[in-house]
Structure formats: structure tokens, C-alpha cells
Symmetry: C2
Subunit: 298 residues, 2 copies
């Protein structure tokens, strides 16, 4: 696809650019979210649902998270360490690994009903992961739009995807909570530079390409301000694929563990990457397109 026909081209210019989003933020499908909630999502690019899951559910999910980090099979891809240590930062493609997460979270009706209401079609899982943000050692995630990377490196054509982040531990000001820039999802930031070969091997620990410039971030923050939803374990943040987000390091004495799943419209399945590189591995960008609606768990 050429730059001219791709509204979301990036990493081709010497200067960053702000482009208008060309896709709707949310559909008008029926579902459990109120009109106000959908409107807030459309305006802010995210929605916070405090304590959508119970503590007993969280306890089971946490035990699974600890087991996955400890028992990840040697040689199985999808495990990432912290940039300065050997502590586990993330594990990926959990929808192929964890029956518990599949049955009780990824396909749970509390998640899927909301996701399908916002996306408006049946969906599949583009990516799933745990971010452990370990106590004291968990380093920051710099500001980024997921969509920029998913588009350029994975070949996701349009903005018809969203992320769901479930707090498996309380999120508070000292453990590096998810931070978002409300309204940033309406603007697509074209980043500078190219895409090095096998960029993902480094970018998951510390990202150098597909990073918005300081000026781009200042532009997005004009008239807006940073928001960090905080709350008990079991709370959920739904956020648009293009919402600018990041998080500080964790200098607190307990980990900040979040379980993520990314849902993409079946009508928006990944194609060839929008850069001259092979696609990233499937643990980062699923290419087995499995519709979820008939597998919903009530």
C-alpha cells in the first residue's frame, strides 16, 4: 500500500505530523454500557469500570499470572524481561496458553458484551499479555499509541481495535499506574524514522522507534491533561487502540500486575505490515483469526 492510499502512514518522514483520525471511535451497537458511558468513551478514548471483577476472581487470575511467569517453558517465545534485570516484565499470547483466562476473562460476557458494543462487530484477539511491573524493578513504559505499532509493524489496517486492562493488583500513585491522555485518540501521530529489522526484540523492553516526539506529546496535551485511573484489583480500563498512554516505573514494594487483551474487528484483520519488514511474531500479533462471539462465557 502506498503512502497516498494509507491514512495512517508513519515512520516515513523526517518530521512528526499530526493527522486526523478517519475512523469512528465507537459503533452504536446494543450492549450493557449506558449512552453516557459510550459518549465518554468516544470523547476521552477510554472508559474506567471500577471493580468489574470480584476479589475471588482476581485471586485465581493472580495465581495463574505467577504460575505463568515461573513456569514459562524454556524456548517458548513470548516472555520479556525488564531492561536492566532478569525479572519478568511481560508474557504474551495468553489466549493460546491459559484456559482460565480464555474462559473467565478474555471471553467473559462482562468484557465481550462491552467490546462488541464499542467495536460494533464480532471480534478476535489480536494480542494478549500480562505486564508484571515488578516491585522496585518495574521500569516505565514511555508514551505510545498502540495502533501506530500495530499498523506499521503488524499490518492492522484501521482503528477498529481496543485494549482491555484488568488490574490484578490495586493501581495507586506509587506503583506506576496506566496513564492516558484523554482525547489523544482523535489524532494520529506520524512518527519519524524507520523500522529496524526485528525491532520488537528491543522495543518490548525499551522502545526507540514508533515513539512520539516531545513536541507531539505537548500538542496532544494542549487543553488536555494526564489521567491515571486508580482503584482496587478487579477494576478494568477499556481504551481505544490510538489513545496515547504510558506508565511510570514502580518504586513501590509490591508489583503492579495488569492482564491485557486486545480485541480487533473481524472486518479489520491484519494484512501485510505497513513497513518493508516481515510481520512481528504471532505472540505479538495474532494471525489465526478466531471469532469470539460464539464462544462467549456467561
Amino acid at each position: 500500500m502506498t503512502t497516498a492510499s494509507d491514512p495512517y502512514y508513519s515512520r516515513t518522514l523526517d518530521q512528526w505530523q499530526a493527522a486526523k483520525r478517519v475512523d469512528p471511535v465507537a459503533a452504536d451497537a446494543p450492549g450493557p454500557l449506558t449512552t453516557d458511558e459510550v459518549w465518554n468513551y468516544v470523547r476521552d478514548g477510554f472508559l474506567f469500570a471500577p471493580e468489574l471483577f470480584s476479589q475471588s476472581e482476581v485471586d485465581e487470575f493472580l495465581a495463574e499470572a505467577e504460575s505463568l511467569a515461573e513456569n514459562w517453558p524454556a524456548g517458548q517465545p513470548g516472555i520479556i524481561k525488564e531492561p536492566d534485570s532478569d525479572v519478568v516484565r511481560s508474557v504474551f499470547r495468553l489466549h493460546k496458553v491459559s484456559q482460565l483466562y480464555n474462559d473467565r476473562f478474555f471471553r467473559d460476557f462482562r468484557i465481550l458484551d462491552r467490546v462488541q458494543q464499542l467495536i460494533g462487530t464480532d471480534v478476535y484477539i489480536h494480542q494478549s499479555r500480562l505486564n508484571y511491573k515488578p516491585a522496585f524493578d518495574g521500569k516505565e513504559f514511555f508514551w505510545h499509541s498502540d495502533f501506530e505499532t500495530w499498523h506499521v509493524e503488524d499490518g492492522m489496517p484501521r482503528m477498529r481495535a481496543l485494549s482491555v486492562s484488568l488490574f490484578l493488583t490495586e493501581s495507586h500513585e506509587f506503583n506506576g499506574p496506566l496513564m492516558l491522555i484523554p482525547g489523544s485518540h482523535e489524532t494520529y501521530i506520524r512518527c519519524t524514522g524507520g523500522t529496524p529489522d526485528k525491532h520488537f526484540e528491543r522495543s518490548l523492553r525499551r522502545q526507540d522507534y514508533g515513539v512520539p516526539s516531545r513536541q507531539a506529546l505537548e500538542f496532544l496535551l494542549e487543553g488536555s491533561s494526564i489521567v491515571a485511573p486508580k482503584g482496587a484489583a478487579g477494576s478494568v480500563v477499556f481504551f481505544d487502540c490510538n489513545t496515547m498512554h504510558g506508565s511510570s516505573g514502580n518504586l513501590g514494594p509490591t508489583p503492579r500486575i495488569n492482564l491485557f487483551s486486545v480485541y480487533n474487528s473481524l472486518e479489520n484483520a491484519v494484512t501485510q505490515p505497513f513497513c518493508n519488514r516481515p510481520p512481528r511474531p504471532e505472540y505479538l500479533a495474532e494471525r489465526a483469526i478466531v471469532p469470539l462471539s460464539d464462544k462467549k462465557q456467561k
Copy 2:
């Protein structure tokens, strides 16, 4: 001095150790602080004084801070860059450089009266600096007790010093505010490892020695919790030399600039370092002992 006669030996053992502080936290000298304020300082190891300086004073201090970072003479020691970039992280020994800071902050009666009330004797400046914590690029300062380094690397004999941090910008949850562990000043953490030659050349960007272990931090946080005083520019934090503190990175769009001065009792002037290394340079540990009481600015 041998380990046996030095209550604060450190970096000589294979395992961290918690030792009881042997020095009083505060004197009982007259001064502007109320009895409650002194008691809180003794209990917590710090005291927060919101908006002790006016915005117009801060404006002048900020202009000086920007000028110092921009015009630091090539070859003059005491300027430190961020670990991953060329942005200025800190400048040091400002009591030898800035008449404005000397007259209007370091020796200002609002500072000196409180410092002398807490320390109980005349004092001199052991160190002074600006931490810029630049927008987006300002990286974390990991947890540390200043005294551990000042003792081992600078030869400060006892805990009779304190730091004063003036906010030159608002401190808020998103720009990496100073975080402290209340009560931690009562415990001296002996760190593991040694002290490499010219350790300071690296430690000011990212510290590897004299760092408390994760277990030591958990120990200090038992029954306590992290506190981050937040407030307008012009606010001041007074904190004991042994209070465990640190700060997260700054992912916000504006810098977080703090002006620090460290006051040490005249009766506690630095001697030879408590490690087998030459003392650190004077921009980090002043060896020209100049009493301040007769130079107080009203």
C-alpha cells in the same frame, strides 16, 4: 577508623543489615517551628512547609536555574546529564556559583532558622544542587539514604545533617515528586558490596553501590508507607540525612525542578571517607567549612 568504632560502617558485608540510628534526630533549640512540627520531624524524618516562598521569588529562582543549565562553563565540574540523553539532570555546588541562591535561599532566615533549630548548632553547606527532572526525559532516582553515601564516600561522621528541597515547579503525581518513607531515618541500612574508584561519575546518573536491597526497603516499609508531599512551587521539604527517599521519572510535559541545599553541623564536618577511596570532588562534598549563622539574610 575501624568497623568496630564506626556505628555507620557499610559496603563491607555480603548481606545487608539494619542498624539502629545512634544520633538524635533533632535538637531542642529555639526557632520558628512549633513543638508539634519538631515532633513530626522527629517521628517522620521530614517536614513539609507548603508555599514557604512566594511565586515572585520562585520566578527569579527559576530564571537562575535555567540560566545555570544553559550557561554552565565548559570544563567546570558539577554538571550531570540524564542517563539516556544529553539533557541536564543536575548542577552542583551552587553556593559557590550563585549569589542569588546564597542571598535569597541558602542563607534566607526562613531556611536557616528552621535548620539551626533542628540541628541545634551552627551549620555549613555540605552540598547544593538543582535537580531538573526534565519533561518526558527525567529519569527516576532510586531509593537511597543520602547519609550512607555522605558517610562512606565523603567522610561525614554522624547523622547531624539535613536536606532542604525547594519546589521551583509544582510537584504533582505525574512529574516524579520526591517520595519518602516516614520513619526510615531511625534505621541505618548497611549496604552490600564495595565502592568502585570514581564511583560518583556513574552514580549520579544511575546508582549501583550504596543502594538498599529490595529486602531492606520492604523492611523499612513494614508498618509504614510511601509519602510524596505535593504542592505549589515555593513549597519546601526539610528531610533528615538518613530518610530513605527517591522519585519516579517524569512522564509529564513540564519539568519538575527542585533546588536543594544540605546543611551539616559545624561539629560534624567531613573527615576522611569511610572507604579506602579518595574523597569525592568538592562539588559533591564541600570541604571549605564556612559557618552560616553570621551571614543569615533577613
